[in-house]
Amino acid sequence: MQKANEIRHHINAVAETRKITNAMQLVASARIKRVIHKMEYNQTFLTQVQSVMKDMLLSPHLQSHPYLEKRPHPRRTYLVITGDKGMAGGYNLSVLQLAQSELARNKNSEITLITVGMMGDEFFRIRGRTPDVRYGGVTQDPSLHNARKITRDILERFDGGRTDQVFVIYTPFRGGMAGTPICHRILPLRLSDFVDIDTAEPAHAILYHPSEDEVFDALVPQFLVGYIFGALTHSYASEHSARMMAMQSATRNADEMLDKLRMQYNLARQAAVTQEIAEISSSQYI
């Protein structure tokens, strides 16, 4: 009976784990649903803001602006968005690998590294590149408040001349799944960033009050907050969809394992019973 008992313990352990992975899968899918409408709305908001920005960029009045200038010898800032926890398949690793290769490619220029999420922080710390700024716990709550905090920090660095280019590395959520991670430049802005965007109004006919520069100053933070908020929600949805998939396959594996173990358990139990009967029936001849 010894062997059957061991198998029973194993079955119990796997069943417990299965409960956890199954629950995590359900939680992840519920969380995706919660942010999906935010993401769709954020996309319209961004497109609208971008179309106004395109109008302005096409306007003859706005010739130069600190947010548009290309500076020589760029010092780069990378904002890397990862999750706070693992158990999400390859989600964290694929973002971090992209970040790592970007850093390696530009190792000659001065780089500021900002990580959002504990996994990114840990990853770079282990590799001896401690992030310059860290935001922990933000990825679990992709709120506007957090997006604003990050934007303020970035704009301060850019306005203060401490960095010349800002990139965001995150995982977009495409068609209900985590897409491939991308690296997107958010500062400085270029007209070529807006090729897909429709213009809203003929640019020359607009009155800029009080002046073009001041309007543009107000516009850019709006765009950045919107973009970073979008990147946070996309990452959040991607993380949870990756986790959902990982937990789905974990649950499936657990089910297969349980089937096998139950079969083994029944065989072992049967063998024990048969053996006992054989022992009893053979004992009468002694």
Partner: protein, 139 residues
Amino acid sequence: MPAPFHLDIMTPERSFFSGDVEGIVVGTPDGEIGILAHHEPMLTPLTIGSIRLNVGGTWKEAFLSEGFLEVGHRRTVIFSQACEWPEEIDIRRAEEDRKLFEEKLRQQTSIREYKTNKIAMARAMARLRVTHTQRYNLK
């Protein structure tokens, strides 16, 4: 009755308002301005404060964070960081924020903090102002 025009108020999180209004009053760096139908196309930044909307003859007031206003031929859009109706505002939180940032401003440590605290304070004050006028109107 003034002619109505279509207004959208958008924040990165949600569509706050979408519908016909007869007039709006918003705060710009140069002071408050009113917009009626057939206004000339314009782009202007908005300061933290309130927005007043004339919806079907009645004036409504809401809290509006920083953003900008676009008046076009086809549409009028306000993009803002945050926008809330008075009943959505948590008065106690706003009051706490006001006290917190007042205290922080008193013991300011750097220009950077001063700026952030001042903006946060302005938000709290504007929220309180909007809820106060609302209560006054009800009486």
